[in-house]
Every structure is written in C-alpha cells, then in structure tokens.
Symmetry: C2
Subunit: 179 residues, 2 copies
C-alpha cells in the first residue's frame, strides 16, 4: 500500500461524521455525506474504486440499494460498463429473482432482474457500507443465481467489529476505510 | 438540436422497456434498466448530462432517492463537484429539513441535511423520471430553503402527459427523453 493511498484513506476517514443514536439509541452511525458533498473528496473516493478495477476486466457493476447506486453509477460510467441494481422487494419492475436475508428483527428481501447479469460475466458488487454482511451476502447470491462471477465486493466503509468479512469469507472483499 | 444528439436520444428511447401493470394495474412502467445494464447506453445517457452542465458553473448536484443517485453520482464525479442526497423520511442521519408533498393517496416526506447545500450555490437537481413533479417540487423547495440557486432540474425520462413540467413551471427543466 503506497503512502499516498494511505493518506487519501486517512483524509476520507477524517471526514466521516459520527451521528449518535441513529438509526436507533446506542448506535453511532458513520455518516459519509460529508465525503459526498465535497467534490474533491467524492472524486477521491470514487478514484479508489476506478483505479482498483480498471485493469481487472470487470464487465458489470452490481450496486446495492440505495447508497450503493452513488458509487456504482460513478464507477460503471468511468469504466464504461453496465450497471445492475439490487433493490429491496417490490422496487424492480421486471421479472426478478429474490433472496431473503436476516435482519436484526425479522427478514428482508432483495431482488435483481432475471436479466440483470449474464452467465460468466465478471462482476463487482458495490455498496457504501459493510456492516454484518447480510445485505451483501444476499446480493452475492442473486449474482450467483445468474451464473456470473464475483470478482470482488467493494465497500467505502467497513465496520470490522460487526464481522461482515467473516460472513462473506467465500468472496474477495475490498474496503477503502475500516473501523 | 444536432442530428447526432437526436439520434442518441432515439437509441436510448428504443431501449426503454414497457412493463405493464407496474407498480399497479393499468400503469405501463417505463423501465430504464436496459439502458443502465448496457455500458455504451449508460455512458451515452450520462454524457447527455455531463455535456449539458460542464460549462454552466454548476457547484453541486442534488440527487433524488433512489434512481437519481445513479445519474447524480456519475455526473458529480465527472464534473468534480459534490453530491447532496434528497431522501425519503428517516433515511438521513444528520439534522435535516423536511418537505411534505402529495402522493396519489396520502402524503410523502422528503428530507435533506441542513448542511446539504450552501447559500447561493449553483445546483442541478437530478432524477431519473419526471412524472407528476411532486417529488421534484419538494426537492426544489428543500434546495431553496438553504438559499441555493437552481440552475436546472434534469431528468432522463419525462412523462409529458402527467404535466410535471407545468407544476414545475418556475424552474428550468431538462429531460433527455419524452413521452
């Protein structure tokens, strides 16, 4: 890891805002919007992903609802590849595959169009945050259902203490910033 | 309007998929995901926005939850400016302003962080679809609450028969594709 890469990460990390008691009491939320609203920092954040994937023969970016769309849109546009959406239940209009996944209380469902990715396509899955890994795991299963290949799962921020990386141990994982 | 611009629009328009009875019976949904998943078409769609705004001294892109994040992320990254999110109620972690707006049945609420845009900042508001204009109008009010200037509101697709443009008549409106 180069010195300039590390200092870029530190700059981004310093800009993340701690918001106590969101989404509920006792949780300290890592708010990335100060990175987004600063043009230089946002470009820096996207560049981490574009530099990482531009020589890896990536054919499709799969972005997770909803903040994953921000980085997924910028990355796919820069690489000149297509973007596929993984969305919460009922949001996608066309025929979709569904995967249920466990939430802290109850279950959630993620969906992807049946023509969202192609067999053997080289895919990067992207989201802003890796927490427990439940959402990312469901997205990976949707991609695998279509027979595509997961090159890597990419996150701007990883909350290491929630052990999402262990849950996703069968996939290559990259995160720009870790706590 | 140049011939190549018109033919690009036609290529995009032909790629939009009609999905009958979504989100409910009798509505024909214009599904833009075939544009997103094709790298060439997605780049073409984003280029329409980047070329339009790159010489207009735009200082901030405001993107509407959730498909607006796709184009907003790509556009802000390309222009090197910041991105501000307008989200549905309860999704933003920090102190926010709220605007209620009418839905077909009942009301929705959109929110933006109080530090989302700066006074007098030149802002483009972006979303994938202009339908009745209720969401876009609420987003515009949030931007105005912070004293920023709306350069234009930009949409990939406009459903002209729903008359959103009339509702938004006090703002400059651009749409790439119209029905």
């Amino acid at each position: 890891m180069s010195t300039s890469f590390k200092s870029a990460m530190e700059r981004l990390k310093c800009s993340i805002r701690d918001v106590p008691d969101f989404p509920k009491k006792g949780i300290v939320f890592k708010d990335i919007t100060p990175i987004l609203t600063n043009g230089q920092l946002f470009r820096l954040a996207v560049t981490i992903f574009t530099e990482r994937y531009q020589r890896k023969s990536v054919e499709r970016i799969v972005a997770i609802d909803a903040r994953g769309f921000i980085f997924g849109g910028a990355l796919a546009h820069h690489l000149g590849v297509g973007l596929t959406l993984v969305r919460k239940k009922g949001k996608l209009p066309y025929k979709s595959n569904s995967i249920e996944y466990g939430l802290e209380y109850g279950q959630g469902t993620l969906e992807m169009h049946i023509d969202g990715v192609e067999k053997n396509q080289r895919v990067v899955i992207i989201d802003d945050l890796l927490a427990t890994g439940g959402t990312a795991e469901a997205a990976a299963k949707l991609v695998e259902l279509s027979g595509a290949e997961i090159v890597e799962m990419a996150f701007l921020v990883e909350l290491g203490f929630l052990k999402g990386r262990e849950r996703l141990e069968k996939y290559p994982i990259f995160s720009a910033i870790s706590y």
